[in-house]
């Protein structure tokens, strides 16, 4: 793990996010998302089974867990890319279970994908312009008459260039996105997501496939999001990174929340250590998640 050899700059964490005892499902002072009794099954496999979970506003929350824990499924459910079997959740107080993905994006919630979806057949600038909301030119009738949408398009281009400069992609604005490196595409996807001035940014494994030299830059961009008042929820495997920038950590295993809290507290939680390291190698993970009822020990 070469990232551990990097000197990561120290980060100020936000505290006091929870109300009451730290345990799975603890209430938050200012939740942006609340999730209730969400269940999603694929055939015989339960992918997600969350009783209650609240995501705090304005800070960086990490969603971690071993492979197959249901993190991406939960992501897909929250962002409207999948439908739960049962359950409800709210965003900013609005009930959004079952709302289609594109509507959620319009409400101020934006996501990136594990396998980057930078649109390779469009140029970098076109990718960015796509991210903007409320474009009159996107309506069919208006699109026929450039004089209606030209001005707004130019303004969007200006905003896009500003973001591209920040992400150091401005020189590539007219290149096809397919010609960018993997890391650059990740940055493009993130920059594009910011075009809509979202409230909640959901990143699905932002560090996946990124070479370590780019890691610091990516981390800084994520921290910037918090500085500008956005809430961040991200899925990650790199524990070092998580403990570095996350204000709050939620641990999933076998679809259930086994622990949550500030990173240093969660890392010491024996249930979490079990889930990841399987120190009780002969014990089924279900003993940790509660799937197997505890026999007195």
């Amino acid at each position: 793990m070469s990232s551990s050899s990097q000197k990561l700059q120290s980060v100020e964490k936000t505290t006091g996010l929870h109300v009451g005892e730290i345990e799975p499902g603890v209430k938050k002072v200012d939740p942006i998302i609340t999730i209730d009794k969400v269940h999603r099954q694929f055939g015989g496999l339960t992918a997600v089974d969350v009783d209650h979970l609240e995501i705090p506003r304005g800070v960086i929350t990490a969603l971690i867990g071993p492979n197959g824990a249901g993190k991406t499924t939960l992501f897909n459910l929250l962002t409207g890319f999948d439908k739960p079997d049962t359950g409800e959740w709210t965003f900013d107080g609005d009930n959004i279970a079952g709302v289609p993905a594109y509507k959620l994006a319009q409400k101020g919630q934006v996501r990136t994908f594990q396998l980057t979806k930078a649109l390779g057949l469009l140029t970098v600038l076109e990718n960015m312009k796509l991210g903007a909301k409320h474009q009159t030119g996107e309506r069919f009738l208006s699109s026929l008459f450039p004089f209606i949408w030209k001005k707004q398009d130019d303004e969007i281009a200006e905003k896009a260039m500003g973001l591209l400069k920040k992400f150091k992609l401005d020189a590539k604005k007219d290149d096809f996105a397919a010609s960018l490196s993997g890391g650059q595409r990740k940055l493009l996807e993130m920059a594009r997501a910011l075009m809509s001035d979202p409230e909640l940014v959901m990143l699905d494994e932002p560090m996946a496939g990124v070479n370590p030299a780019l890691t610091q830059s990516l981390l800084d961009h994520i921290l910037d999001l918090k500085k500008e008042g956005m809430t961040v929820l991200f899925v990650e495997h790199d524990m070092h990174m998580v403990s570095h920038i996350a204000d709050w950590v939620v641990v999933l295993a076998e679809g259930r929340v086994v622990a949550e809290g500030p990173p240093d507290v969660v890392m010491k939680n024996p249930a979490v250590i079990d889930a990841y390291l399987g120190s009780h190698q002969d014990v089924d993970l279900g003993a940790v998640t509660g799937r197997i009822p505890k026999v007195s020990e």
Partner: protein
């Protein structure tokens, strides 16, 4: 569900109510005017070269308004007798057809006295034939609805079994390579044409001709995979590109067939064998019975092979998960080659049976049932052989029985509509498994 809601919302946002009502009314009007009304002409099909005609008289007095239906070789038409009792139907090919007289349109107490209400005719050397029914006072021996239904079920079964032979191959090719092969129809035609070359042109015994045709089909399958599909797969062509290649291939091969055999219809020996009345309204010729038996035997043998043989299991493994199959040591390319050979052989055999069923061999005979093959495969579940069998049987029976309630020249519409409905409601088909999202 989300999308229907989305569509409703979109439509209701974008279109005011009165437009929606107008649309629906216009649509309903057009569809309703269709099958509900029947032809009033006493002569139809005047643009065709061959004719079947007749005169309906009771004791010398002409009867007007009697409904006659002519069908065969995929063609179907209806007429009503004019005031002079005469009727005339133009037909596209010099072949045999069924003529049906609807006794419900005869006056009370008058019936067809001999031969039944459905009789077979063959176009004579002059390009026409006359069919008169022996009419008089008497009890109507109408084929009861149940009898009719049973006879249609059996014909549908026959058709379905033959369709299954073609559909199974199509489904397996899709399952192992992901290719929707539009040229599959031409493999069906190929079998029939080769059988004709040996059996009719060279006048060899028909059994030898059939065996040679199936062997030639096997060769065709091998050539196709070795010469075209495997190289294209290696080249890394996307599935859409491959599909378009199959479309181009089907065009080219189909017109090569027309180049070779011309635009007319030919018959295999024995195709006009007499129909033996069996029970109820069911009348099958020895050829029909042999065809069903052959289809059944081949399908069962193939099923056993698929279930029990190593390559059969490998085929199913690849259809299920190609990379996993390859990782467990299966030689995917070799299995795919074998699948192509088998699919082609089955299609060729299907073509020969189709030539007896229609009856008739034509350059585009395969194309006429291509969509039915797709319907069968999709209905059963793309990629599964048993699904294709089930789907083909359902399609065959549906096509034949639907002719009882809708005009017979629309009998494919039922199966095609079912195809669309299945893809919308249950795209994995009856036996397929739903792919996991995400």
């Amino acid at each position: 569900m989300e999308l229907v809601r989305g569509a409703e919302q979109t439509l209701s946002q974008k279109l005011p109510k009165w437009i929606v009502v107008t649309l629906v009314t216009l649509l309903a009007f057009f569809l309703a005017v269709g099958p509900a009304s029947s032809a009033h002409a006493d002569e139809v099909g005047s643009e065709y070269d061959f004719t079947i005609s007749g005169n309906v008289k009771n004791e010398g007095e002409p009867i007007a308004g009697v409904r006659i239906v002519v069908d065969g070789n995929g063609y179907s038409a209806e007429v009503q007798t004019g005031d002079d009792g005469k009727w005339k139907v133009g037909v596209p090919e010099r072949a045999s057809y069924n003529v049906f007289l609807d006794q419900n349109t005869l006056p009370e107490g008058i019936a067809v006295l001999e031969g039944g209400d459905t009789q077979q005719v063959e176009i004579g050397p002059g390009g026409s034939v006359v069919k008169n029914f022996f009419i008089g006072e008497g009890e109507r021996q109408t084929t009861s609805v149940v009898d009719q239904l049973i006879s249609r079920l059996i014909y549908g079964l026959n058709f379905g079994l033959m369709l299954a032979l073609a559909a199974i191959g199509l489904s397996l090719v899709y399952g192992t390579t992901g290719l929707s092969n539009f040229a599959h129809a031409e493999m069906v035609t190929f079998g029939a044409i080769v059988a004709m070359v040996f059996g009719v042109i060279l006048e060899w015994p028909i059994w030898i001709a059939i065996i040679l045709a199936v062997a030639a089909s096997a060769g065709l399958g091998w050539v196709q995979d070795a010469g075209l599909w495997a190289p294209l797969r290696r080249r890394g062509l996307g599935l859409v590109q491959l599909m378009i290649v199959s479309i181009g291939l089907s065009l080219a091969v189909r017109y090569v067939f027309q180049f070779i055999v011309g635009g007319g219809t030919m018959q295999l020996p024995g195709s006009s064998a007499a129909k033996i009345p069996l029970f109820g309204a069911v009348a099958l010729s020895t050829i029909d019975l042999a065809s069903m038996a052959i289809s059944l035997v081949v399908i069962v043998a193939f099923a056993l092979w698929l279930i029990f043989s190593r390559i059969g299991k490998a085929t199913r493994a690849i259809s299920d998960n190609a990379s996993l199959a390859a990782a467990s040591g299966i030689d995917v390319d070799r299995v795919i080659r074998i699948v192509w050979i088998l699919a082609s052989m089955l299609a060729g055999l299907s073509g020969i049976l189709w030539a007896y069923f229609r009856p008739g061999i034509k350059w585009d005979m395969g194309e006429k049932i291509l969509l039915l093959m797709f319907a069968a495969v999709v209905l059963g579940g793309l990629g599964t052989a048993f699904g294709a069998l089930l789907g083909a049987l359902i399609v065959g029976i549906l096509v034949e029985t639907s002719a009882m309630v809708i005009p017979s020249d629309l009998k494919y519409v039922g199966a095609l509509s079912l195809l669309i409905i299945i893809l919308v409601v249950r795209p994995q088909g009856l036996l397929g498994r739903k792919e996991r999202i995400g």
